[in-house]
């Protein structure tokens, strides 16, 4: 479903050039949930931003659903196939748009015309009561906002969801709710997930396979069973697992 080969992403040119991602390669199969783990600044979110065209300077090969991507321009098919859920639900919703406007506009842009029925269905899908439909973001809690953001991502019935630390800005109790919601939605809609997190237990709960990143490079790709049995090969992965177990 997702094929990434020898991906390099950098910011600025000349003296200021920062190589955020170097030579990253991995595959995500149809219906699979794949995790990218690493410390902050290890380039995991940058991979998502390169895929979505938000980080324009990259080289290598990215292929999603058989479609090779070029530069930072994406076409309608891409937006229909791939959607993203952002890290901070407080920053990813327009402060002056009600839930109804957010979802209605996403549906309109994705070419649907039966917007009223679909808005209600999206709210049901993400477990939000209908009374939230006409509220504004400042009238919602963090978890409710993230549900709206997930509903917006689902509006175009995508095949791939890119999840950029979708729970790291939320309370622990709300984190579990959102993760369970994401697990349920994957089953119902047959979605493929590419999830970024610095939180190993979250990745262990959500994903079948994962890649460990360190300063812009993928040091190891492993199964979750390997992770659970603490059979990481690379010393950095072992260290990361050790720290996470200690907590």
């Amino acid at each position: 479903m997702i094929k990434v080969e020898n991906l390099n992403v950098w910011f600025d040119d000349g003296y200021d050039r920062v190589d955020a991602v170097r030579g990253a390669s991995f595959n995500v199969n149809q219906g699979e949930s794949f995790g990218l783990v690493g410390e902050s600044g290890s380039g995991k979110s940058t991979i998502l931003r390169a895929m979505t065209g938000l980080a324009p300077t990259w080289s290598g090969r990215i292929e999603i659903d058989g479609l090779a991507l070029h530069g930072h321009k994406r076409n309608r098919d891409f937006y229909k196939t791939v959607q993203m859920v952002f890290q901070d639900p407080y920053a990813s919703l327009h402060p002056r748009h009600s839930v109804d406007q957010v979802l209605g506009e996403a549906l309109h842009l994705q070419g649907f015309r039966d917007i009223d029925t679909r808005v209600v269905k999206l709210l049901d899908d993400v477990g939000l009561d209908r009374k939230f439909r006409f509220r504004y973001p400042h009238q919602l809690s963090g978890g409710q906002r993230q549900r709206v953001a997930i509903a917006r991502a689902l509006a175009g019935e995508p095949k791939v969801l890119l999840l950029d630390e979708p729970t790291s800005a939320l309370d622990v109790s709300v984190q579990a709710e959102i993760l369970n919601l994401l697990t349920d939605l994957r089953e119902e809609h047959g979605l493929t997930y590419l999830m970024v997190s610095h939180d190993l237990p979250v990745i262990g709960h959500m994903c079948e396979r994962l890649a460990v990143m360190k300063s812009g490079e993928i040091v190891e790709v492993m199964d979750v069973t390997q992770l659970r049995q603490m059979q990481a090969k690379h010393p950095y992965s072992q260290e990361l697992i050790g720290v996470s177990v200690a907590h």
Partner: protein, 305 residues
């Protein structure tokens, strides 16, 4: 749903039932917070009074504003029949002030419609597009900003010819650059935010993003800025009138009235003072209103509700 309290509850609900309900509800909450500011209410009261006076000027004016009576010129305050006295041609000053509200409102409305819209358009396009579009548009803005406002307006009026429409045009041409700067600065902070990235990922084009996503966030700070600038706009129009480049005699524009009264200011001070007080009152009202609107509309406060 038919008693005042239930209307209130319906408006203050945190679970609106329709689009219009949600809109009305947030409008009502803004009104409540505006109403709790007595100075802003005072400003609003003056402006509503001004609007009513302008609407009913022919009925309210005690005399014909053009009627001259040279045997009755330069009468002091409190003269029977002429409470605010008469000017150098024996015209009733109160009637001329009342008639002049229409001109003042006309100027203010036209400038308020032209300048902020032009500034918003230039600023948001420059901020969102970036690159050479940004450079070109902002350097043009800088050129306009570099001139002193009244001098530039004078040059425009001199080129276009004296008159109230040209004065409005000249003031608008000099007033838009600050709005463009504000709008661009706001756009720069907004355009890199996650909600813009999210709507781009839904396939929204630049025009939809600018008009539906960036404008609503810029407009509130612009409205505040415009009401605060209104005082300056009235003064600029009065200044042009005073210099003889705005409204032409016998038009009862307040600045032009001051200009006429200047010749007698030592012996007959009220001729210039009364229109001056009118300008002062309206400018103050706009400033107070702007302060109150800033408290209500500032998006930074709106978020933390």
């Amino acid at each position: 749903m038919n008693t005042p309290t239930s209307y209130r509850a319906w408006l203050l609900t945190d679970a609106p039932t329709s689009r219009n309900h949600a809109r009305l509800s947030s409008f009502y909450k803004g009104w409540l917070s505006f109403r709790s500011n007595p100075m802003a209410m005072f400003g609003l009261g003056i402006l509503i009074a001004l609007l009513l006076i302008a609407l009913f000027a022919p009925i309210l004016a005690p005399h014909d504003w053009q009627a001259q009576d040279l045997s009755n010129r330069l009468q002091p305050l409190g003269t029977p029949g002429h409470i605010l006295g008469t000017d150098s041609l024996g015209r009733d000053i109160l009637s001329r002030l009342i008639e002049g509200t229409q001109i003042t409102l006309y100027i203010v409305t036209l400038v308020a419609l032209i300048a902020p819209v032009a500034g918003l358009l230039v600023g948001t396009v420059a901020g969102y597009a970036g690159g050479w579009v940004d450079v070109v548009l902002m350097r043009i803005t800088d050129i306009f900003l570099a001139f002193p406002r009244l001098v530039l307006a004078l040059a425009f009026v001199a080129a276009l010819g004296a008159g109230i429409e040209n004065a409005v045009l000249a003031i608008s041409l000099t007033a838009w650059p600050p709005y463009a700067r504000i709008a661009r600065a706001e756009t720069l902070t907004i355009r890199s935010s996650d909600y813009i990235a999210a709507i781009r990922l839904q396939g929204a084009g630049p025009f939809r993003i600018i008009i539906k996503h960036i404008w609503p966030l810029c407009i509130s700070s612009l409205i505040v800025r415009v009401t605060l600038d209104m005082a300056g706009i009235i003064l600029a129009a009065a200044g042009l009138g005073f210099l003889g480049l705005g409204a032409q005699p016998p038009s009862p524009e307040w600045g032009a009235m001051i200009s006429e009264g200047r010749r007698f200011i030592l012996d007959h001070w009220w001729v210039a003072t009364m229109p001056g007080l009118a300008i002062f009152t309206v400018s103050l009202a706009f400033n107070l209103l702007g302060d109150g609107l800033r408290d209500v509309l500032d998006p930074k406060d709106g978020d933390s509700q």
